[in-house]
Point group: C2
Amino acid sequence: MEKYSKYKAFKGNVIYSKSKDVLIIKENSYILVTDGVVKEICNQLPYGFPKDNIIDFGNKLIIPGFCDMHVHAPQFLQRGIGMDRELLDWLNTYTYPNEAKFNNKDHARRVYTLFVDELLRQGTLHVNCFPSIHYEASEILFDILEQRGLFAFTGKLNMDQNSPDYYIEDTEQSIIDTERFVKKHHKSGNVKAAIVPRFTITCSEKLLAGLGSLSERYEVPVHSHMCEAVNEMKVVKELFPKYKNGAEIFYKNNLLGQRPTIMAHCIFMDDDVLELMKNPNCMAVHCPDATANINAGGIMPVKKLLKMGINLAIGSDIGSGASLSIARGIASTIEHSKIRNMFDPQWEAVNLTEAFYMATRSGGRYFKNVGAFEEGYCFNALVIDDSNMYSEDITPLERLERFCYVGDDRNICMRYIMGKEVEI
Amino acid sequence: MEKYSKYKAFKGNVIYSKSKDVLIIKENSYILVTDGVVKEICNQLPYGFPKDNIIDFGNKLIIPGFCDMHVHAPQFLQRGIGMDRELLDWLNTYTYPNEAKFNNKDHARRVYTLFVDELLRQGTLHVNCFPSIHYEASEILFDILEQRGLFAFTGKLNMDQNSPDYYIEDTEQSIIDTERFVKKHHKSGNVKAAIVPRFTITCSEKLLAGLGSLSERYEVPVHSHMCEAVNEMKVVKELFPKYKNGAEIFYKNNLLGQRPTIMAHCIFMDDDVLELMKNPNCMAVHCPDATANINAGGIMPVKKLLKMGINLAIGSDIGSGASLSIARGIASTIEHSKIRNMFDPQWEAVNLTEAFYMATRSGGRYFKNVGAFEEGYCFNALVIDDSNMYSEDITPLERLERFCYVGDDRNICMRYIMGKEVEI
């Protein structure tokens, strides 16, 4: 029928999250897609559906593309190195010298190209990037994300204090450059500008106030780190004595909750901070591997925050996280919550349904409709071929679980953004 | 010169453990090998060394093959599934029904072939296998390990109580079958027989005594589980009221320390048990992912045991562990020890040098000389090509670290056992 001439039907075992507690699993079903957007999922094709428009993945799984909601793009080449170091030592030895190299545009273009390629290879179709302080490099990252079709937030990093001489900004210039960036990109397409102060330690109050006012004026989201480590929080308290904590500093400078706000780590939050983070505009990003590697000191009480209704996502946090695989992040989220529970039994472990939700639908909430396959959601999807894992007599849900625990990018045989195949 | 005509020289960046605290790193060096055994490592080749006998791996890393010292071969097809279940639920739902299938020889041959292929693909050249209860399947596993050239211990599993009707043995028959197995294989080549009681809960005292006497008579090592979970230890105490704990049951039945004894988990060991495990014949196997998945309840205090001089190794513990990669096991050992340290700061985190030692030289101690490249050690080696990880300006040690945290089997470009290339 004419009606379906512009439709495509993707057939397979479809899995997506309805909510944190409910996974929808539709075996041998067709996802009907038009203009890159899901119309419905059905067991049988409508009468007269054109055969040429069927893309049949047989017994394979079809799941939403992953969301990596906290990742340092310029740290891509340093991933998996220096994992035995303390945070400050690691920053000074590896991270700051490495990020400083992004004043070279050729270097930025080369590394960011590799980085975005690897994101797509790992099935991350939606990403929230931490850049370097350099305006030009930040533009390059923006362009590459856009060219490759990802849904993304990215910006220009800000830091004007407590940073090495070779990697620090003048306060005024930092605000000027940031305004230039957000002015240019705040009304962009699928890649959008964000305000990205590194963390309160490296940002003066004047800088934070300026950034907060840009976020308000241009209506752009905020992305930073918060409540990451006991020592960091102590330093914050010393640097900003008139505030109760880092969250209040952000909040009172229009950088927490006034616009969509994505805060990495959020490991140590007292009741005041939890109250601020309950705002539907806010999201806390759990970065399990990073937390276990460099940021050691605590593990986010994920179950507690889920129960409180705080929006949660998963981040790879390259380079203190080592792998860009969010599938692996799902398994680590579960594993680490189990270890946490051994020592602090008041909060149960996280299960697969919850971790998968964090990595897909929940993580995707500030993009267009992504991370699920309900009507009106973008068909941003991965096709999982797990035939190399000898999956016999097991359910689609068990196959999803196995993919997260044992699989890798080789099992992602197709990636779609807005219904279009992504080339890698 | 004639002297070197039967030598080979493997060139690369060589890394191996001297001890738990010392890694030997020799950049751009030659490992001279004759009859499959290392003679020396040198910066320059001896005068007249035949050029045709040089295998030049350029800038690649050469490291010892890994040791997986606790892995359930018949659980290979169930890896990564049911990870959210409790231990007993997981055993009854997945593990026992799955292991019971190995009464079918064709199934055993097919699965064990896949299993051993995957071990080699992941760089595990030395393995300590847990089989099923079936005599024929155990012989099949032995044969495949031998055909593929691995260094291995394996046996026939024993369980005569507290097991499902469809997967339990008669005590006498279990001992008879085990004797048949060890008699045939106790003087074998690189694959050797072991006595493998599942754990004390599933073994009557009569069975354990019989197995202990076989271990003595045929001088075969022992492989089992111990001190794995609080509940398990409570049940052990109820089942064997005259013994202080599971370790004493093994010890008094000639199954702990009289011969090489490899005990998985050893998470909860009181002073009595630690004293028994200090015996140089004993080794405790840390299975980080398995512990975090199914066996949740505690994490081995690895640093404490290392400091006490207890022999330690790493195990994948498929299927409660999900991945056969011991490189990943190294990273998990470190990460999980950091999480443990957050909640129980008395024991420091494990570092890369220690975890790599556990996975290579320490794990290999009951085979011939394996796991290092000193004179007289077997050239059982992996060549690591990390060029896809853009390793610029970083040291061989950092490259090893990155391989463990981010790499996978694709980075293992060659595997050698006794100087011979392994085909995968």
